[in-house]
């Protein structure tokens, strides 16, 4: 589904992303973790052809992303509020996105009715423009617009960050359902290790632009990640574990 070759992005002499090779197969659910500044969002943006890499290329379904539009037919993504047309009402926005995929208004309304639980009565028919919604509710709009597009590939950047606990659980089950039952490839970044190990079968750990770990999720993955990120708190133990793993 996705193949990254020798991808490199440099800002002001600092390499922010450096991925020699990465392949994501159809139907995989991949989680991307890493501290702030690890290069997660930049990687996402390059995969979506929003930033020009210094070197290398991203292929989706064996077609270059840069300079081609084919990937837009099966890719849905929500990175931040910059993806939303914020002076529209949520309904107008959904109709617009649906219209781009040749869906009628009635079809869109039907689909949205199915998301009533996820919206929790806070999105539709509230008489607000998207810009007047809270960050969490904006995130709901963004995620819902992704789902509306019936994607084969779903990319979400920190979707759990601003939404309330109930919505977090609903979002998790939605993503799991898409992946397990509909075969949608999912690529999600998050700072919440519990959620990400719960949702994803494969975890990529980024540090300073490099993917330093690529692990299949198992029962020990969570503690492994906690050890990596907990390096400040339990300094002594964490260092020792790191040394062992480096051998």
């Amino acid at each position: 589904m996705i193949e990254i070759k020798d991808l490199k992005k440099i800002y002001n002499g600092v390499t922010v992303v450096n991925v020699p090779h990465l392949e994501i197969k159809k139907g995989e659910s991949v989680g991307l973790v890493g501290n702030n500044g690890a290069g997660k969002t930049t990687l996402f943006r390059m995969m979506l052809d929003l930033i020009r890499p210094e070197r290398g290329e991203v292929l989706m379904n064996n077609e270059l992303v840069a300079g081609h539009e084919g990937w837009k037919n099966f890719t849905a993504s929500y990175l931040d509020e910059g993806f939303l047309i914020d002076y529209l009402t949520p309904e107008e926005y959904f109709h617009f996105i649906g219209g781009l995929h040749q869906q009628s208004h009635a079809h869109v309304d039907d689909f949205l009715a199915g998301l009533a639980d996820f919206f929790n009565g806070e999105i539709l028919k509230k008489g607000k423009y998207i810009r007047d919604l809270s960050k969490g509710n904006q995130c709901k709009v963004g995620v819902a617009s992704c789902l509306l597009q019936n994607p084969e590939l779903l990319m979400l950047d920190e979707p759990f960050a601003n939404i309330d606990p109930s919505t977090q659980f609903r979002l998790k089950s939605i993503v799991k359902d898409l992946n397990k039952n509909k075969g949608v490839t999912t690529l999600i970044s998050s700072h919440d290790l519990n959620h990400i190990t719960d949702v994803c079968d494969r975890i990529l750990l980024m540090e300073k632009g490099v993917i330093i770990k690529d692990i299949a999720t198992s029962s020990s993955t969570l503690s492994e990640l906690e050890n990596y990120f907990g390096v400040e708190q339990s300094f002594a133990t964490a260092v020792r574990i790191d040394e062992e793993e480096n051998h």
Binding site: L48, L50, D80, I85, D86, Y87, T89, E92, L100, D132
Partner: protein
């Protein structure tokens, strides 16, 4: 940008420096000092009116300090004092102080000159805080703004229209006495101080985020659809979105409203004798009236969508459709504006013919030119901010852009007009416009290819807040 501000300042400075000669010309019968004293209050009245519309409330600046251990009194003082940092408070000094130094100081001595400057300062402060006070109040209740504006207009009308009293006489009454009694200068200062204190008290009692902010929890926002536009497919949907953009954001809306006001532009020129009322001027005026939206809104093109440009790039939007949407929007608005100019038929059918030619020119040539420059515009515009004195997104681009927009039609028209064949020039303008409309898909292809070489730079520029 700094250049423009400098230019405006220099303009006012020159005006201030030659105020004595200007006044002499305007009121040749009156004594210079009398006419000067007469216009001061008149100026401050119009100053108040402009402030009401244009001056921004400096409120949210305190937001980061509200939860810090800073005394509320000092916060309020900070807020009220920083509001003095405004261009509006510079104008009266630049405008009047040169005259005071040149004429008053020479006539009546330094003490009187100081008294004049002190009262100018007092009135400026008074106006500053009065307008902010009214604006704050009208944030909670929109009627207050209308009433205040109405009162100012009524005062103006009762002088110039009903002749109930004369502001100039009232102004002279005070400033005339000021020449003999400099101590009177304390009166405006006192007024300013009272107004400051009123502001201070009001702010202190209302120092809560929801009351400070200009963001109101407004009324129900309903969804709108433009069924006619959806017949144009994706391009129509995009145009519909952009119409909503224009109507739902302050700054873009004022670009449209300004265009509507410009519909009266023709009245200044048409029907006048001599070159002012000539066809050559009509070409210019007609272009502005039918194409002001293209110029005014189009010069910031794509920047309007800066906040969601990433979203547009990853959506299933063909850039050709994106451009078609822009053309559609421009065509619709220009058509409406052209129809609005039809009453000018009063000045002869040829006026309308010229308007129509310039309409063709706008829809054909100017739209393409504007979109060509849009590909070279990397500056972000934050739509949530107001329009007045908002220089965001302004760059050298806009100045370069306006030149070809204004000059090109004349390159075609002027040679023929000078040789006495204005009609041929007009026909050529119309044909060029038509040719561009007919070959539009060719230009769209060109613009698309051009866009693909610049899209990363544009997107990155728009991401920079």
């Amino acid at each position: 940008m700094a250049l423009l501000i400098l230019y405006l300042l220099v303009n006012v400075f020159v005006l201030g420096f030659f105020l004595d000669t200007i006044l002499e010309k305007a009121f040749p019968k009156d004594d210079l000092v009398v006419s000067f004293c007469g216009i001061i209050l008149l100026y401050f009245l119009s100053d108040l009116f402009t402030r009401l519309q244009l001056q921004e409330l400096p409120t949210l600046r305190v937001q980061p300090y509200l939860q810090l251990p800073v005394k509320r009194n000092s916060l309020v003082r900070y807020l009220t004092f920083t509001s003095l940092i405004s261009v509006f408070n510079l104008w009266p000094f630049i405008l009047f102080v040169p005259f005071v130094l040149k004429v008053i100081a020479a006539d009546s001595g330094n003490l009187t000159a100081t008294a004049f400057i002190v009262s100018l300062a007092g009135l400026t402060i008074f106006n500053n805080y009065l307008s902010l006070y009214i604006k704050r109040k009208s944030n909670l209740n929109g009627w207050i703004f209308l009433i205040a504006a109405g009162v100012i207009i009524l005062i103006g009308l009762s002088d110039f229209y009903f002749h109930l009293f004369s502001i100039r006489k009232v102004s002279y009454l005070f400033f005339g006495y000021l020449v003999t009694q400099p101590a009177l200068a304390l009166l405006p200062v006192l007024l300013g101080a009272i107004m400051y204190y009123l502001n201070f008290l009001y702010l202190k009692n209302n120092l809560y985020l929801e009351e400070l902010g200009s963001r109101k929890t407004g009324k129900y926002k309903s969804s709108t659809e433009y069924p006619l536009l959806s017949r144009f497919g994706s391009a129509g949907d995009l145009a519909a979105n952009e119409i909503k953009l224009v109507l739902r954001n302050k700054r873009s809306k004022s670009a449209l409203v300004m265009g509507l006001f410009l519909m009266f532009y023709g009245l200044l020129f048409y029907g006048r004798p001599g070159p002012i009322g000539s066809d050559g001027v009509k070409v210019f005026v007609g272009m502005f009236m039918t194409g002001i939206f293209i110029i005014n809104y189009g010069q910031f093109m794509f920047s309007w969508q800066a906040s969601h440009f990433d979203g547009l790039l990853v959506s299933k939007i063909n850039f050709v459709d994106f451009l078609k949407g822009k053309y559609l929007l421009f065509t619709i608005v220009s058509t409406v504006f052209f129809l609005l100019t039809t009453p000018y038929i009063y000045f002869g059918w040829k006026t309308i013919l010229i308007h129509f030619v310039m309409y063709l020119w706008n829809v054909g040539v100017n739209t393409t030119m504007v979109l060509f420059f849009a590909n070279r515009n990397y500056k972000r515009i934050d739509l949530s901010k107001g329009a007045a004195f908002n220089w965001e997104g302004v760059s050298g681009n806009q100045w370069i852009l306006s030149l070809p927009l204004i000059i090109t039609p004349y390159i075609i028209y002027a040679p023929f007009a000078l040789l006495g064949h204005a009609d041929i020039g007009l026909t050529l303008l119309a044909l060029t416009g038509l040719a561009f409309i007919v070959t539009r898909s060719f230009w769209i292809k060109k613009l698309e290819a051009d866009f693909y070489t610049k899209r990363y730079t544009i997107a990155e520029g728009f991401r920079n807040k």
